[in-house]
């Protein structure tokens, strides 16, 4: 019996080129790191989605298991997991982020 939450997550990851699982909403982020992650992507001007999992422990558990990453926010670009801004900031410093985003949007 496949896991409905896993299916939901798989669909969300496929449908959103830049996807942030975090705490709160775009209008009302409830965690500094979630807000920081949105500001990170605001710089690039590409559309991104923020999905609030603050009150959804079951989904957070699925996400934690599949990514082997215990914290939120969790970022996916083009269907691939990239941790959070602690990972993306050093990648950005090496110019690795923009090509990733462009590739994700070109692949559509």
């Amino acid at each position: 019996m496949s896991d409905p939450i896993q299916e939901e997550v798989d669909r969300e990851i496929k449908e959103n080129k830049i996807l942030i699982y975090g705490k709160g909403t775009k209008a009302q982020p409830k965690c500094g790191f979630t807000a920081e992650t949105m500001q990170f992507f605001d710089k690039y001007g590409y559309e991104y989605e923020l999905l609030d999992v603050l009150e959804n422990p079951a989904k957070r558990e699925v996400l934690t298991k599949m990514t082997n990453w215990p914290t939120l926010p969790k970022v996916f670009i083009g269907g691939t997991f990239y941790g959070d801004t602690d990972v993306l900031d050093p990648m950005e410093a090496k110019g690795e982020v923009e090509p990733l985003i462009k590739k994700a949007f070109e692949a559509a």
Binding site: W69, P70, G83, V87
Partner: protein, 79 residues
Amino acid sequence: MITSDVMTSYIQQSMPDAVVTVIDLKGTMDHFKLKVVSEAFSGKPIMDRHRMIYQALDVPMKDGRIHALEITAEANDGS
């Protein structure tokens, strides 16, 4: 709440050579910026380095002593 010494000892249990710098982001001793320097990171991608730190701090994160972490992980050669 947790002290930097306790966090350092958790990290050194899995990375004995680790040099750990702790900044208490909010003065509440549960939101931290951590810099960890260890030869264990050498040649490893960033995400795996951070996973190593999260694994080392698994207990105090799960029991709530640590609420939030900002991580920098460097090998001894600064890479």
